[in-house]
Symmetry: C2
Subunit: 911 residues, 2 copies
């Protein structure tokens, strides 16, 4: 007691030598680092800061203290030596805790027990170490037995200390301890640890002590202070443990931060029916509803909840069982939520009728809940719309838009025993399909229109063709960074990996989970968001795009963002969907997709294979009304909004039969039916296809090059779009036409195209007697176009980055060839930080984009610049587009909501 008061009288310790703060000394911390929550968390770690904050709020937190992150750094930098003064400060703080608890650490009659936990600034779940029940030894264990009148309990917590200390502090493999317990259970003839009695535990404790002696050459330290000191050092050291370093490397947490150590009085929820333990969320983290949500168990410890031996009770039960406690817990939860201005995930213990809060933190949540929380909090006046927008990540909106299994569906399936197994939730979304046990089968079924879940022990690059044809992927091995996981996320395919319970027999084409056997073709439902694997077909729900919470949130996002959000859509129905989702224009309407219809392809082929100008003209004349109708549909749907139509882009051989197929057919006919007229016809066709074949079609005769070589095709397309525009304008539709030229590398290409376009457009408008205002622009998708953007902007009135091709050319990487092949090696080996086709390569491709925007606007200050590559829907890439001053992003209709939020984030974070 003397020491405790001494501590109170020693505010003179200089800040830099102050290593320890009691939970009730937040004032001192703030005096040191300022009233800055981030700095407080930096010094005390997240857990320590929250414990101090709760203490200040008068919430019943078991007393304790925090050793700062700086102490950790000083320890590690000082060659693993406790910095001067630290131990003395620990002792002083411990005395204050003793005073509060009315127990003494190491006291043979009334001992204080403490836990020792890591707590870094940023959560690193499971990455660092914890030791519980410190302070127990042969003597205090007996005291605990007396105090609790529960010998079994006292032996149990002592053996736990020995085991945790042995493993965490002394580095002895846990298996050695578990083997002893296994023996004890066997001897006692019981199944669970909890069934072991004090008499069972006694020999276990002796055996544990023997193991420690044997492994370390020393006895388990009976001195509680030595226990504590070694535990603190172990937590410090765990900051540089391999797991922690790997985790930080993966998540980008700096290695220089260090971890704090929280030493806290132990409280116990298993001291009778008036005790208990549980976890509660201040709101429902699954649905977002405003209700307490959680589980608890009476007369139990936290571990029992985890072990799943006894069935936990929903938190509502507590209201009946201990109404006063429930009331107190409810008030605390709401108070913490208001205080931290976010939904809280709270651990609590009830020890003999007294509620203790052990920890609070912002609650993890589903995407759906995140959106509802954000909106409700605004409506409740807790936060501003700006913050609500920032609280929901674009990835959450993306997840929200995935098909999913509804909560009640999952629960029903679980109750029905259909939950087969649980693995790593590697790629979110729900998928339902038939099990296929190799890539070829998956591909074949997928192409045949069957939904497939591809099941493999693990996947390899050779499997990718099957994976991308599947609805979902399930593997027995591998983790979040396995080949299967990376590929799945890359292609947005739901995946559960590392599902060790699956015993896959690829030869017999089945897998077993216990007695259940799943054969090829059987139905499976997997949930890549939870890692669950269900037998049979579970109904999925598509996202509700009219969800009122999402609608409200995106409405706020729109107020903050400066970047436009347009969509890529070729057909009127896609354009309508995009408009429904909030798209402000069509950034890319591909005209070639219009050529692929069954009614159209034969005409397109006649056009390509024409041997005379007349034949070609005839085919083009047939295509004209078809294209015109397509365009009319687009203009009507997008009435009043801009529509960027891109002229035909792909190489013409894409519209013709495959060369290899023809070769084989011809060889067959030559051998079997050499006089067949079909042979002559096919030979003629082969010759035509041969002429258009290219070594590297991506860099061949396509895009604007088609316009130069076959100007008639372009003229037809221009005529179709202007005839459509005139017709719509006469109906009263407000047409905002923009014509875009693909694959331009040199400004002269664009000049030529503009000449052709202007001539044809004028001709149509003169014929129809209507003036259609239009803009003329280009894709920037060839590096040279970006490099010479100043010259190109002399002709182009707008740019649209085609970042798919721009990435391919800047990297010299054919996406078709790289993805699913060596690009995965690159990602797995960490040579590339991300798939550049998913997330814009800011360093390389981004440099060209920035250059193009700058150069283009030197020539044409009001140049409109957008992006229509797939990156236009990727949040990180959208942030970059905002940063370099793009006018809009254009993405697939389903990604419009994601892009709206990402654009708002970009604007808010820049501001």
């Amino acid at each position: 007691m003397i020491q405790a008061s001494t501590t109170n009288n020693q505010p003179a310790t200089p800040d830099a030598q102050r290593w320890v703060y009691c939970f009730d000394e937040l004032d001192l911390v703030e005096a040191r680092v300022g009233n800055d929550w981030d700095a407080v968390r930096g010094l005390l770690g997240g857990k320590g800061a929250n414990l101090a904050e709760m203490t200040r709020l008068g919430i019943p937190v078991p007393p304790g203290f925090t050793i700062t992150t700086q102490a950790c750094i000083a320890y590690l930098e000082g060659g693993e030596r406790l910095p001067d003064g630290l131990w003395e400060q620990v002792l002083e703080a411990l005395h204050r805790v003793e005073a509060k608890m009315g127990r003494r650490f190491g006291d043979p009659e009334n001992p204080l027990l403490v836990s020792c936990r890591s707590g870094a600034k940023f959560s690193m779940p499971g990455m660092m170490d914890t030791v519980l029940n410190i302070g127990l030894n042969d003597t205090t264990m007996l005291a605990m037995a007396r105090l609790t009148n529960d010998e079994r309990f006292a032996h149990d917590i002592y053996r736990r200390l020995l085991q945790m200390f042995g493993n965490v502090v002394l580095g002895i493999p846990d298996e050695r301890f578990e083997a002893v317990i296994d023996d004890a259970r066997r001897k006692a003839g019981v199944r669970y640890d909890s069934e072991l009695q004090a008499s069972d535990w006694k020999p276990v404790i002796e055996a544990f002590k023997a193991i420690i002696r044997q492994e370390t050459g020393r006895d388990f330290p009976q001195d509680p202070f030595e226990q504590l000191r070694l535990a603190i050092e172990a937590v410090f050291k765990s900051w540089n443990g391999k797991r922690a370093v790997d985790y930080r490397n993966a998540t980008g947490i700096p290695h220089t931060l260090g971890t704090a150590v929280n030493v806290q009085s132990m409280v116990f929820g298993n001291l009778g029916e008036d005790s208990g333990t549980g976890v509660v969320f201040s709101r429902n983290p699954a649905t977002g509803e405003n209700e307490l949500y959680g589980d608890y168990l009476n007369n139990a410890q936290g571990e029992d909840v985890v072990a799943g031996i006894r069935t936990v009770k929903p938190i509502a039960t507590l209201a009946h069982e201990m109404p006063a406690i429930y009331e107190q817990l409810y008030e605390i939860a709401k108070r913490l939520e208001r205080h931290f201005r976010d939904v809280q995930d709270i651990e609590f213990t009830i020890e003999k009728g007294k509620l203790w809060i052990l920890q609070t933190r912002d609650g993890k949540r589903t995407a759906r809940a995140a959106i509802r929380f954000a909106v409700d909090f605004v409506n409740e006046g807790l936060i501003e719309p700006r913050e609500a927008v920032l609280r929901v990540s674009p990835q959450q909106v993306e997840r929200f838009l995935h098909p999913r299994f509804e909560q009640h569906v999952r629960q029903k399936a679980i109750k029905a025993g259909r939950l087969l197994a649980k693995g790593v939730n590697a790629s979110p979304g729900a998928a339902v399909g038939m099990a296929a046990f190799d890539a070829d089968t998956a591909e074949a079924w997928g192409k045949a229109g069957k939904p497939v879940i591809m099941v493999r022990p693990e996947t390899k690059p050779d499997d990718v063709h099957g994976m991308i044809a599947s609805k979902g992927i399930l593997t027995a091995l591998g983790g979040n960074s396995s080949h299967a996981a990376i590929v799945a996320r890359q292609f947005g395919i739901p995946a559960v990996v590392g599902c060790h319970e699956l015993q896959i027999d690829t030869e017999k084409r089945l897998f077993r989970v216990g007695a259940i056997e799943v054969r090829e073709g059987d139905w499976l439902s997997i949930d890549g968001s939870t890692g669950e694997v269900f037998l049979g077909q579970l109904p999925t729900v598509m996202p509700d795009l009219h969800d009122p919470y999402l609608t409200t949130l995106l409405g706020w996002a729109d107020e903050f963002r400066t970047l436009g959000v347009w969509a890529n859509a070729d057909l009127p129905k896609d354009a309508q969907r995009a408009r429904d989702f909030g798209a402000e224009g069509i950034g890319l309407a591909r005209t070639e997709h219009m050529f692929l219809g069954e009614d159209r392809l034969p005409i397109v082929q006649r056009m390509i294979l024409a041997e005379t100008d007349e034949e070609r003209a005839a085919a083009l004349a047939e295509l004209l009304p078809i294209q015109r109708a397509d365009f009319e549909g687009l203009f009507r749907v997008m009435d009043g909004l801009p529509v960027i139509i891109r002229l035909i882009d792909p190489p013409l051989h894409e519209f013709l039969p495959r060369y290899e197929t023809l070769l084989v057919e011809i060889e067959r006919l030559r051998l079997t039916d050499p006089t067949s007229p079909a042979l002559r016809e096919k030979e003629r066709l082969l010759h035509a296809v041969e002429r258009l074949r290219e070594a590297n079609p991506m860099l061949g005769l396509r895009g604007v090059r088609l316009g130069i070589v076959f100007p008639d095709v372009m003229k037809m397309q221009v005529r179709a779009m202007f005839e459509a525009a005139c017709a719509c304008a006469l109906e009263g539709v407000q047409v905002r036409l923009e014509v875009m030229i693909p694959l331009v590398a040199h400004v002269n290409e664009l000049r030529r195209m503009r000449d052709i376009l202007e001539t044809e457009a004028q001709a149509v408008m003169n014929e129809k007697g209507v003036r259609i205002p239009y803009a003329f622009g280009t894709m920037i998708e060839v590096p040279r176009a970006a490099l010479t953007a100043d010259a190109i902007a002399e002709v182009a009135e707008f740019f649209s980055f085609g970042t798919n091709d721009l990435t391919q050319m800047t990297y010299g990487l054919s996406r078709d060839d790289a993805e699913g092949a060596f690009l995965l090696d690159y990602l797995e080996q960490g040579i590339l930080p991300a798939n550049p086709f998913q997330t814009l390569d800011v360093e390389g491709v981004g440099q060209l984009m920035r250059l193009a925007v700058e150069k283009g606007r030197t020539t044409r200050p009001d140049l409109s610049v957008g992006i229509c590559g797939e990156h236009g829907g990727d949040p990180a890439s959208i942030a970059f587009c905002h940063a370099i001053g793009l006018n809009y992003v254009s993405c697939s209709p389903y990604r419009v909501p994601v892009a709206r939020l990402a654009a708002a984030h970009a604007a808010l974070k820049q501001a």
Copy 2:
């Protein structure tokens, strides 16, 4: 005479209003524009300036005067009105000429005749107009007859005036006049105009007058002064004639320069045996020998020489026939050569024993002569080595290095009547081959190893596959910018185009020239440097690389250049050749070419198709000693010079059978021999090839990507080169090894490769106990590498630009697909100024190169940067490489001399 002296007394005319200078008034010109030969030529035109200079030197130039280029500009800008004062100045100058000649313009007894010729600052041969014999009319014609005692002569020159004046000044088609002469010849029963007598000419003259009256509504102006004024105006106007404008557009001569007009007394070489005319070069323009060279005819006019009616005599004959004149001519030629410090091409006329020099200019020359002139002039003390180097263009060295027909061989062939025809010399070099009349035949023969001359009326893109398989190209149609000409130059294939004498019958597969018939398969020899087409096989000579003149010139070039010149060579014999040609290192040794030998390919295929690590290791172990031997050869040849070895680059499927071939073979076997073991083997092979097939192999699994995916191949290569280096070093060879990684896009790729390389290299050096210093570097051939060159230079010690791939990716243009297909459309339509694979695209690709050099050197100031793409041998590209600070260029061995000179030019021109 009074007027003449008046002129002399009028130096007060302000310069700006002075439009006319007599040939002896060069002092006045210099007083006006300064002693600046370029400015003098700007004002007087090239021809006028030279005439004035010769006059000053006291060389017998027929008196005359020059109307300035400014007068032309004033005339054209003033709405085709002679500027004030011009006509008066013309008259004054004319009087001075009259005084000198002792004749008067228009004098009925002793008339002065003058010529009126254009003469711009830069030579525009044949593009503008000339009128001779001005001053003749019905009266003075008779006076000329009397004075020369030659009525035929007087009538002839009068009809020539009428004809030229009618055509050039009055715009009457020449055919109308020629038709009259044809009639006259027919009537007189003679073959040549020169056989027509005065009596024959008289009716012709009357007919000509009638034509003029009929066509213009006016009589031919009998007034000599009106003739002169109209002729001057006609020359002025010819500056803006279509031909002249087109020519200037093509050659880049500014349209603002205007042309001068030279009015000069006529002298006549056909006034008897003591008269004559000829052209002489001060040195032999074909061989470069220091001897007068040229032709003359006595009692003849210049036109007679051109018409080829009489056989011209070599100039040496003049030494016997008129020794004094020859002596005088020799002295003048040498004096002019010394004065102008270059070989002169001189027109002269001897009129009744008096030598007149009509014109001198720098003589055109063959590449061989240009080189010898330059060296001889230095040895004779006329110019400095610096100027000698600048006088020979890299293109001339290139031409010198082409195979060619020797002069005596050509002449012998011509004498033997084997010269079939002459066309446009579209692409230089001599070629001998068998005539093939379509592209498929040319390709088939070419692939079969037969030398082919492809003969077509004209060529189209479809023909390119045949053209590039041919030794030479011959067309009947088209000019220097026809498809055939462009393609031929692009691929360095000798070509003669527009050879109108050829009557090609592609159906019968032959062509006729007169009575001679050339059938498919017959031998032809074409000279793309002269445009000549010979029947049969003429022997060609390869360039003599030890030519002493070239050796001397390049030695000087080496002293001026700062850019290193290295060579690309894969085999020791190529490296030896490169070294002989002066290469200072090997900038690119491709290791994959070493895989293609007959003995090696099967091993390489085993390596690629290996199904186990053991199989692959076994194949690699077999390749190791082979590669090692290759490298040893290179190191020995390049003893003391750097050798950059590039690791394997091309996609592996290039080493395997073609997919399509296998497909067809398998189909055939399935139908004909379905149980054949060959079928199974081929199916297995097909499967392997299929796995390696790529949509865009250029952007696929190649270059460094192979090293990442198949590190064992790289290890083998590294081991081979270090084992070779150690072995050579032990022999005393100084090995300077540099290892280069291709296709790097991200610095991490390079880091990985360096780790592998260092480990393996250290292992080998430890085994052998030898230290080999080496450098580690990368190709910069992917745009991203250039953009991130700062990061890449952290690892790479040197860069080498692979501008072939860099151009392909920057342009998004596959060379294989573009050249011979749409790229020609681009060049023909003027969309691209040049083939970017021939001449570096400075604007786009060059921008990336400049960026890479700058960024790379910010990280590593001593970074060595070179280029090993084909552009490394292109003079314009070499100049750019010099400008952006490259350390060296590396090109094919045969281009090393060209590059050495180009590099010197770049350095001298920048300085």
